[in-house]
Symmetry: C2
Subunit: 381 residues, 2 copies
């Protein structure tokens, strides 16, 4: 069974190099740009791949939604196995792609779409076969972890740390997808989908931005609670529903997550049988993400073609998961859930009772109307 | 392809429960003790399994060497795939079992033999397909980690922490296999074998006991270096050889390993392409180890029967890997490698220059002759 890669950008070229070096030849690469080093392997015509019966594995590393969806759905319909590193595609069309794979008796794999080089989704899926997952949780975005680590270890301001992340190529010129949580929301949705065999949409993931986090918040959290902070995605199993959310989260300094430095990622599952399993590594980059894409392709090439099935529809209920929160705001709100409040100058520093995730995010919307600079974080452990 | 389990002790019964609950029926269980709940599944005659052509997967969870080797080698010779949780067996007969598997066109898997519930060996093997591993390293023994964690966090003495580990069932009445490093040595050898496609023997792993570690050592390491300690197994790739050793190791307090608490394990690989990947979880116990055994069986049942091949013979050279060491001894030795020495009362606290692992272990043998209480630890990072 031969392989093709769609897209010869950062991830596609990384996977191509890994596969070629390891002795797994790639028959075709689709790209509209010239790449002399690819010779006859390069094509700009997808039909050269679609109509080639020798090619049984198509890896998509184009990114975006429209072209990638057109190519991937055609490949599945033609009975080819599909591998993708595209979290946007996998999250947006999760149900459709799995239905199409099932209808055509093929597999779709996307380990590299969440966690970069970490074999997270692959191992999560393996665990689900004989364990009941109750929580998935983790640091899934290297840019925001780099920013927090620089603020905590090097005493940097948020804006300076972000600028350095941009200089190092970790963050885009427009950093919104990273710092506002959209990137983590997609990875959280995909992780929850595998953990709970469902199809959560990106819009169902309640997401609070890291953008308003300040050094003074860090100092307060350190002095008042003796704790630190990370930006975490969560998928929890409730009784008959799941909760999915992305929040700045206050964690003990001696937790594993608190010691994940620079732009690394760590994602964990909690199973009834196996307990907690955590997976750590590089969450992005040409070679880590490229090798993760290549590994999925090799699994299929070596005969591991377990079919993909359409997911069930498990209800998303962010009212069913409760935790305590820290809030910093100047908004003057009647908020019945307060457990304790400090007022320093005009700023309220609040700890809530245990309230639901949805209640907190609704309250945050109101707070942000009064004080656009408001911040909150959940408490873990 | 049907399954059988040899041995219905802690791990075998854990795997049986997991498989049965997940809908993977086990056709036969071999045990010499009565287990009424197993009904007709139980047999005390291995031939009932060996001669049953429906049984294609035989999982060994007996432990020890002689009976397990007899059963496993007969199963492989009969063309059955074998899974084992027995680190003693896998380490001792690594080459023979792989040759036998290759000769009979079957696979042998043993994820649960190192790391308990952590899918460590499984992921390491997957990585080796298309990456070059330069180091494997980790906390592979829950008992010694429990002892160190109790000494560090709860200010306990070694003997008290060990007694508590024994009370909790983590350590045996004779704790030598754990605290003298034999358990870690076997897991290190097996990990190095997969990482470097070789067959290191347990005897080639240079191992220094944790037995002589004292609270005063911890205090010195904390005050002098600002660091902490863990008990680590190492397999490193040199130019044309590998080094394999087990040592107490001084590590930064903000490293991931330093924050692995209680009896948990964390094992890492370092690949040229993927960078560092770390895997964390429960390193022992009925359900974690049982599910890891079950997962290997399910992989095979679902068609992932990639064959096992006889390993190469890569030279073990513990002179080729160098690091700095901390030594505490009353022995008065001419030691040309000292970088700095403190003398407090009659005790020398030494930091060496970078010296080879074999030089340090040879020097330790001499030191222990003069001062049976001597201690050393390597420096990581």
């Amino acid at each position: 069974m031969k392989m093709a890669i769609l897209g010869f950008g950062v991830v596609g070229s990384g996977a191509y190099e890994v596969l070629t070096k390891a002795g797994y030849p790639v028959k075709r690469v689709l790209d509209i740009r010239p790449h002399a080093e690819l010779g006859d392997v390069l094509t700009s015509n997808f039909d050269d791949i679609l109509n080639d019966d020798e090619i049984g594995i198509v890896a998509e590393a184009i990114g975006g939604l429209s072209a990638s969806y057109a190519f991937v759905s055609k490949a599945l319909a033609a009975g080819k196995h599909v591998v993708s590193s595209n979290k946007h595609l996998v999250c947006h069309y999760y149900k459709e792609l799995h239905e199409l794979a099932q209808a055509n008796g093929v597999t779709i794999r996307f380990t590299s779409s969440a966690g970069g080089g970490i074999p997270w989704l692959f191992n999560l899926k393996r665990c689900v076969r004989c364990d009941r997952i109750t929580k998935v949780m983790g640091i899934m975005n290297g840019t925001t972890n780099f920013i927090l680590d620089a603020m905590i270890r090097d005493n940097r301001r948020f804006a300076d740390a972000l600028a350095e992340a941009q200089k190092l190529g970790y963050a885009e010129a427009n950093p919104s997808a990273d710092i506002d949580g959209n990137d983590v929301a997609r990875k959280t949705a995909i992780s929850a989908n595998i953990a709970y065999n469902t199809a959560v949409s990106e819009q169902e993931v309640l997401t609070f931005s890291l953008r308003n986090f300040k050094k003074t918040d860090l100092e307060y959290i350190d002095q008042k609670f003796g704790k630190t902070i990370r930006y975490l995605g969560y998928g929890t199993k409730n009784d008959g529903s799941v909760s999915v959310f992305v929040e700045p989260t206050i964690i003990p300094k001696d937790s594993l997550e608190a010691n994940v430095n620079k732009n690394n990622n760590m994602i964990s599952l909690f199973g009834d049988v196996v307990g907690r399993l955590s997976f750590y590594g590089q969450g992005a980059g040409k070679y880590p993400t490229g090798i993760a894409l290549a590994q999925d392709m090799i699994d299929i090439a070596e005969g591991d073609t377990a079919l993909s099935y359409a997911p069930d529809a498990v209800e998303v209920d962010n009212g069913a998961c409760k935790r305590k929160y820290f809030i910093r705001t100047t908004a003057d709100m009647p908020f019945e859930f307060y457990d304790s409040v400090d007022k320093i100058d005009d700023v309220y520093y609040i700890v809530t009772k245990e309230i639901s995730v949805s209640a907190m995010h609704e309250a945050a919307d109101l707070m942000l109307e009064q004080d656009a600079d408001s911040f909150f974080a959940g408490f873990e452990y």
